[in-house]
C-alpha cells in the first residue's frame, strides 16, 4: 500500500515505452496498483437526481469522518466517477452482494474536513452486475486525461474483474498522503 501511486507514476514515465506490454501488464496486474481509474459518470454532481426523491443520509457516526455517504459532496468522493455503492447494497468500502471488487483501481487524494489531512482513496469498482442506477456521482479533482492512466477516472476498471460489467464504485481509505492534492 506504500507509495504505489508514485511507483505507478515512475513506471509509466520511465519504463513505459521501453517496457514490453507483457511486463507492464505483469507489474500492474500483480496486485493492488496505483494505476488508472474506473469511471463512469459525468456531471452527476451538478445534475443531481432528476425525478425521484433524494436518498436519505448515511453517516459514519464518527465525527472524524463527517458527511453523508449517499451525497456526491462527501469528502472521500473528490475523484470518484460512478454510482455510489453506499446506495447500491454495499458501503463506502464494500461492494454490494453479488458483485466482485476489481483489484485494479484508480487512486485519488482527498482532504478530510474534520482533520484537514489528505488521504489516499482507492476507488475500487464493483463488477459483474449491471449499472446500479442510484447516486450517480462524478468529481474530478486531480483527474488527468487518459494519457496518464493512473490519474484518469474514465477507464472502466472492471477490466480487473471476471466481468467488465460495472455496478458501482467504492471509496476506500488506503493511507495518508504526505502532500495536499493539487
Amino acid at each position: 500500500m506504500i507509495g504505489f501511486d508514485k511507483l505507478a507514476e515512475r513506471l509509466t514515465r520511465s519504463v513505459a515505452r521501453q517496457s514490453s506490454r507483457r511486463s507492464l501488464l505483469a507489474l500492474l496486474g500483480a496486485g493492488i496498483t496505483g494505476a488508472a481509474a474506473f469511471p463512469v459518470l459525468p456531471v452527476a454532481r451538478a445534475a443531481g437526481h432528476a425525478g425521484g426523491p433524494a436518498h436519505q443520509p448515511v453517516t459514519s457516526g464518527n465525527p472524524q469522518d463527517p458527511g453523508d455517504r449517499t451525497s456526491c459532496d462527501y469528502w472521500r468522493y473528490c475523484a470518484i466517477d460512478g454510482f455510489l455503492c453506499t446506495c447500491c447494497g454495499g458501503s463506502v468500502n464494500a461492494c454490494p452482494p453479488g458483485t466482485e471488487m476489481s483489484p485494479i483501481t484508480w487512486i485519488g487524494t482527498c482532504t478530510n474536513p474534520a482533520d484537514n489531512r489528505a488521504y489516499i482513496i482507492s476507488y475500487n469498482d464493483c463488477c459483474g452486475v449491471s449499472s446500479c442506477g442510484q447516486c450517480l456521482c462524478n468529481r474530478n479533482e486531480g483527474d488527468r486525461p487518459q494519457v496518464r492512466p493512473q490519474s484518469n477516472n474514465d477507464y472502466n476498471w472492471c477490466i480487473g474483474a471476471q466481468s467488465s460489467v460495472y455496478n458501482c464504485s467504492t471509496a476506500v481509505i488506503v493511507g495518508l498522503a504526505l502532500d495536499k492534492p493539487l
Binding site: D5, K6, G52, G98, D115, V129, C132, V174, G175, L178
Partner: protein, 384 residues
C-alpha cells in the same frame, strides 16, 4: 505531481499537537453479504427496466431501512421470471440472452443464485428458445414438488409448461397446454391453469414430471366481462382471484386438482369514484397470513383502466365477504406486496419508482423508501 507516503511518515513529520489520530486504513476487496436468514422486512422488487428491457433486474429491498433500502441486485433479463425459496436458500431467474445482446444466438436459461451472496450457483439451459416473455406475471414460473421442481411457461405462441428438476439441473418434461395460460401450483405435484374457454384445467404430475391425470372445471371465468387478473393472492392453499370489475373468486388448490370455493362476491362500492372503483395495476391483490385480502383500486374504473395503477387499497375479509378497511396510498401504485413480519407491512410500488410502506393494521403511511431501488418497479415479491 503528487507525492504519497505512509501514515507513519506523516506522523513523524507532523508536529505534536492535539489532533486526533488519522482515520485507519480500511481493508480492500470487501464484498457485502446478506444475512444468512433474510430479515422478515425484506422483499424483492421486480424492475422490468423499460428503457433497457434486456437489462431487467430484481432488487433485494429492506422495507425497514429508510436510508439504505437497496441491499443488492440480481440480473433478470428480458422480462424474466423469478422464484425465491428460504428453504433452498436460493433465488431462481428464468431469462433469455442473445449472443450479441440484441441479436444472434438465443439462449434461454434458469440461473440459480445464492440468497446470501447473490452469486450464481448453477444454470439450467432450456432448449428450443420458447420461454414466455411477458410484462410481468409471477405465475409464469412457479415451484412444485416441494420446491424440488420449477414449472416454466412457454409461448411461441404455442403454449406449454416445462418441468425442471432444479437439483438435477435439467428439464425433465414439457406439458402441452394449448389454450391455457399461467401456472398455479396445485397439490403436491402439479398445477392448474386458466383457459380461454373459461375453464380451469389441472394437471397431476407423476414422479417423472409426466402428466398422470388431469381435470377440467368449465365456466369458472366470464372473460369478456369478469376476467380475472392473472395473479392471485394466496391464503393457505386457496388462490383468491379478483376480476377487472371487482368480483372475488377463490380456488382451493391444496388438493391434487383445483376446486371452486363456493360464493364469489363483489368488492362493492365506495364514495369518491369517477366513474367507479375497480382493481387496477400489475399486482392488484395480495394477502396476509391472518387471512385478509388487499386489493389495489382506482377510482377511475372503466373499460381499459385495469393497468393504470391504483390509489387506494381495500382490505377484504373473504370469509365475511366484506371490506374491513381502506388504506389510502401516497401516489399511483402499480403493485402491492406484503412483508413477512409478524405484523406485516403493505409495500406499494409506484409508477414514479417510489416505494412506500404502510401499516396493515392502522392503514397509516409508515415511511417512503424514495425512488431508490428500481427504475420501473412492478411486482413486490414476498420471500418465503
Amino acid at each position: 505531481m503528487r507525492l504519497f507516503a505512509l501514515a507513519l511518515a506523516l506522523a513523524a513529520a507532523a508536529p505534536a499537537c492535539a489532533q486526533p489520530a488519522p482515520l485507519a486504513e480500511e481493508p480492500l476487496l470487501q464484498v457485502a453479504r446478506l444475512p444468512d436468514v433474510w430479515p422478515k422486512s425484506f422483499v424483492v422488487v421486480h424492475d422490468i427496466n423499460f428503457n433497457s428491457i434486456l437489462d431487467g433486474r430484481l432488487a433485494v429491498v429492506d422495507t425497514a431501512s429508510p436510508n439504505q433500502p437497496l441491499k443488492g441486485l440480481v440480473r433478470d433479463s428480458q422480462m424474466g421470471g423469478a422464484l425465491f425459496s428460504r428453504q433452498r436458500g436460493e433465488i431462481l431467474t428464468a431469462e433469455t440472452f442473445y449472443s450479441r445482446l440484441t441479436r444472434g444466438e438465443r439462449t434461454d436459461a434458469v440461473t440459480i443464485w445464492d440468497m446470501k451472496t447473490l452469486q450464481p450457483k448453477g444454470e439450467i439451459v432450456l432448449p428450443g428458445g420458447k420461454r414466455q416473455q411477458s410484462v410481468i406475471y409471477p405465475h409464469l414460473f412457479q415451484f412444485t414438488n416441494h420446491q424440488k421442481w420449477a414449472l416454466l411457461a412457454n409461448f411461441t405462441p404455442a403454449q406449454s409448461v416445462s418441468v425442471i428438476d432444479i437439483d438435477a439441473r435439467k428439464v425433465i418434461n414439457e406439458i402441452d397446454l394449448p389454450g391455457c395460460s399461467q401456472i398455479y401450483p396445485t397439490g403436491e405435484r402439479g398445477f392448474s391453469s386458466l383457459c380461454a374457454d373459461g375453464s380451469i384445467f389441472s394437471v397431476v404430475l407423476d414422479a417423472q414430471g409426466k402428466a398422470a391425470s388431469s381435470a377440467t372445471i368449465r365456466n369458472v371465468q366470464e372473460i369478456d366481462h369478469q376476467a380475472y387478473f392473472s395473479t392471485p393472492a394466496y391464503i393457505g392453499g386457496t388462490a383468491w382471484f379478483v376480476s377487472q370489475r371487482g368480483l372475488v373468486q377463490g380456488f382451493d388448490l391444496s388438493g391434487p386438482v383445483a376446486k371452486v370455493v363456493p360464493g364469489a362476491f363483489s368488492l362493492g362500492t365506495a364514495p369518491g369514484a369517477d366513474p367507479e372503483w375497480r382493481p387496477s395495476g400489475y399486482q392488484v391483490i395480495n394477502a396476509d397470513t391472518a387471512g385478509r385480502l388487499y386489493v389495489l383500486m382506482t377510482p377511475h374504473g372503466k373499460e381499459g383502466s385495469h393497468k393504470d395503477g391504483g390509489t387506494a387499497v381495500w382490505v377484504v375479509d373473504p370469509v365475511r365477504k366484506a371490506r374491513v378497511a381502506i388504506i389510502p396510498l401516497k401516489g399511483p401504485t402499480m403493485g402491492i406486496g406484503l412483508t413477512e413480519e409478524d405484523v406485516p407491512h403493505l409495500v406499494g410500488a409506484q409508477v414514479d419508482g417510489t416505494i412506500n410502506v404502510y401499516d396493515t393494521q392502522s392503514g397509516a403511511f409508515v415511511r417512503s423508501l424514495g425512488a431508490t431501488v428500481a427504475f420501473n418497479p412492478f411486482l413486490v415479491y414476498t420471500v418465503r
